[in-house]
């Protein structure tokens, strides 16, 4: 295998390991809801929450990089220009993530000074990592961007998919710089923070996973490049056409002018369109090829990505996106429900699909199939849907009892949290969290053992039709 593919395997292994940390810290965070005294005075809810959401960002980012480094040599016919730098930075990245996790667990907080933001944590959701670590992440992404764009320039050839990915690298790197400033005015702080969270995660990441899935579909089904690239351009037009101003649905209540209610409501209501397009595309491709593939788990995870993205990001997002309803649902577990389903459907499933694609080639398997991947698939998706459903009920109870009839005060908040619908939902979420964790163990076991006992054979990669 090429150096790029070896690096990709390292990134994918690290991604799956941090996926485990995310799952464990998620279970921990869920525990506080049913037992608030749990580890009180030792490890607070906030630390479990930070570990949960930050490792989610990290494992998805590592998964993306693993996927791209896997496909790069196939697309350009050569090693990435800065593969040596990427190899070194991989270990720096892993070490930095472990160091930051140790700081979160053992140091937890510091005095209200700039020094705390540099050394311990920045206290901004999703980008809590201290600035020294954020600089490291920026450096890793810069080298990642250089390896995509620089390799295209040196290879003197570029495909449509890689052209989209190359252009996408610019906002991917630039938007992350919003992780650094300390802005006293919270209205302005949240205004730019949403550029990071919405435009980075919900736009540039959507484009990136669109490119990755385009490459995966060519690999898995031999779909023609012309069709894949046509769909990718349509997706880019729809994602950015609706998503750039769809950003406005985060500007309803942060102090910004009320024209955002109309603009954000309208464009974010259209945001499910590209996701519906991906479902149509997936069904079309699967139908044309009569579901024939040599890698069934990768294919099923790709389908799960299309459907999960549409349902989690699209349908669950649409439910709360209009300002008339968002006024009640915003800041409740309803948002958490959407968040869980969306991140899982949009990104996690896609990365798991690439894991199986890489595994097939790395272990030289003619076909990839077994019963244990089916268990992992059912438990992970079933657990996730159960968690999203539980959180949806909890959020609805909050929207009604805390906001609509409660008056949104501390007393109303407590009344909402003590409402039986909310309490039952928290137990239910924990139960489905355990199902999800069991699915993770099945996945890890399957990835570790799949094909190990079978004879390896030489396989020919699927060549996309022209």
């Amino acid at each position: 295998m090429s150096r790029s593919k070896n690096l990709a395997v390292k990134y994918l292994i690290a991604a799956v390991l941090f996926f485990g940390v995310m799952t464990l810290s998620g279970l921990l965070a869920a525990t506080y809801y049913i037992n608030p005294e749990f580890l009180f005075g030792l490890l607070h809810f906030s630390i479990a929450k930070i570990l949960h959401i930050d490792t989610m960002i990290i494992w998805l980012l590592m998964g993306f990089m693993g996927a791209v480094y896997w496909f790069l040599p196939d697309e350009f016919g050569r090693e990435p220009v800065g593969i040596w730098a990427a190899e070194i930075l991989f270990w720096v990245f892993v070490a930095a993530v472990l160091a930051v996790a140790a700081i979160f667990v053992f140091v937890q907080w510091g005095p209200g000074t700039e020094t705390t933001l540099w050394l311990f944590q920045q206290g901004r959701k999703y980008v809590e990592a201290p600035r020294w670590a954020a600089i490291g992440v920026a450096l890793v992404m810069l080298v990642f961007a250089w390896n995509v764009v620089g390799t295209a320039m040196q290879a003197r050839r570029i495909t449509g998919v890689m052209a989209v990915m190359s252009v996408n690298m610019v906002p991917l790197v630039l938007l992350y710089l919003i992780a650094f400033p300390n802005i006293s005015n919270m209205a302005v702080d949240l205004y730019w923070w949403w550029w990071l969270v919405h435009l980075w995660v919900e736009a540039t990441w959507e484009i990136l996973i669109g490119c990755i899935m385009a490459l995966a579909m060519m690999k898995l089904l031999g779909t023609s490049r012309q069709i894949v690239e046509g769909w990718l351009y349509i997706e880019v037009a729809l994602v950015l056409g609706t998503g750039i101003l769809g950003l406005g649905h985060h500007y309803f209540w942060i102090g910004t002018p009320d024209y955002w209610l109309g603009i954000g409501g309208f464009f974010s209501a259209l945001e499910p369109l590209p996701l519906l397009g991906m479902v149509v595309h997936a069904i079309y491709d699967a139908g044309v090829h009569r579901m024939k593939t040599t890698n069934r788990p990768a294919f099923c995870w790709a389908l799960a990505e299309a459907f999960g993205n549409f349902l989690g990001a699209g349908v669950f997002g649409f439910m709360i996106t209009l300002p008339q309803l968002n006024l009640f649902a915003h800041g409740t577990q309803w948002t958490v429900s959407h968040g869980h389903f969306a991140f899982w459907g949009a990104y996690a499933c896609g990365i798991l699909s690439v894991c199986y694609i890489a595994l097939q080639e790395q272990r030289r398997l003619a076909t990839v199939d077994s019963s244990s991947w089916v268990w992992a698939f059912i438990l992970l998706n079933g657990g996730l849907i159960g968690m999203a459903g539980s959180l949806l009920v909890a959020g609805m109870a909050q929207a009604f009892f805390e906001r609509a009839i409660g008056g949104s005060t501390l007393e109303a908040f407590i009344a909402g949290q003590e409402n039986p619908w909310f309490v039952i939902s928290m137990y239910s979420r924990f139960g489905f969290g355990l199902v999800f964790a069991a699915g993770y163990l099945a996945l890890a076991w399957n990835l570790l053992t799949l094909g190990r006992r079978e004879a390896t054979i030489s396989i020919r990669p699927v060549v996309p039709a022209e």
Partner: protein, 197 residues
């Protein structure tokens, strides 16, 4: 057919993205003007010297802050510079203790503890004045922040985060200023309904 040519869709993707990005930049310029201190939606930091209420505006059909007469924080009126320093310090305290990873601000955060957007205006502080033995709302808030485990609100207790007196004062100033921001009616019905269990 032209639509089968990916280049046709590429042109569409580029033009759509460019148009939307330009519109976003224009709206951003206008929005930042409105949300800078002293803008149409965000009062200057010295608003902490004034009385703040949250009332229903029947003309706009939503709740919004109402800035009243003088009501200095901790009994001391502050200058522009002093107010800015307090707000800067308050935000640093909020970030250094990762408040947003339990609470929410303007609905954004971790949902485990109450939203703090209008916390300054919460009627619950009336009870805390008695509980903490303070003589004012701001003093009760400061005492709570410095020893939250001593004045536990309910089964989900706020942990002791080592907040000093100066840090507590700055945080209270920050929460008072935050409550003065016009958030288009969020959170709805704040403090206007009596909860019955």
């Amino acid at each position: 057919m032209q639509y089968e040519d990916p280049n046709c869709w590429r042109a569409g993707a580029i033009s759509t993205t460019v148009v939307m990005a330009i519109v976003l930049v224009m709206l951003t310029i206008d929005s930042l003007d409105a949300i800078n201190p002293g803008g149409s939606h965000v009062p200057p930091y010295t608003v902490i010297n004034r009385h703040i209420e949250y009332a229903h505006n029947s003309k706009l059909g939503r709740d919004m802050p109402v800035i009243g007469s003088d009501e200095p924080l901790f009994g001391k009126s502050v200058t522009d510079t002093e107010a800015a320093a307090l707000i800067e310090q308050g935000k640093l305290v909020i970030q250094s203790r990762a408040c947003i990873d339990c609470h929410t601000f303007m609905g954004n955060g971790a949902y485990y503890a109450p939203d703090l957007t209008k916390a300054w205006l919460d009627p619950a502080w009336d009870a805390w004045i008695a509980i903490t033995g303070a003589e004012s709302r701001e003093e009760a808030m400061a005492r709570f922040l410095m020893a939250p485990e001593q004045y536990a609100t309910w089964q989900r207790k706020m942990p002791d985060l080592g907040i000093s007196r100066d840090e507590a004062v700055a945080t209270v100033a920050y929460l008072k200023w935050l409550s003065s921001i016009d958030t288009n009616g969020f959170p709805i019905h704040f403090g206007r309904i009596k909860v019955s269990k």
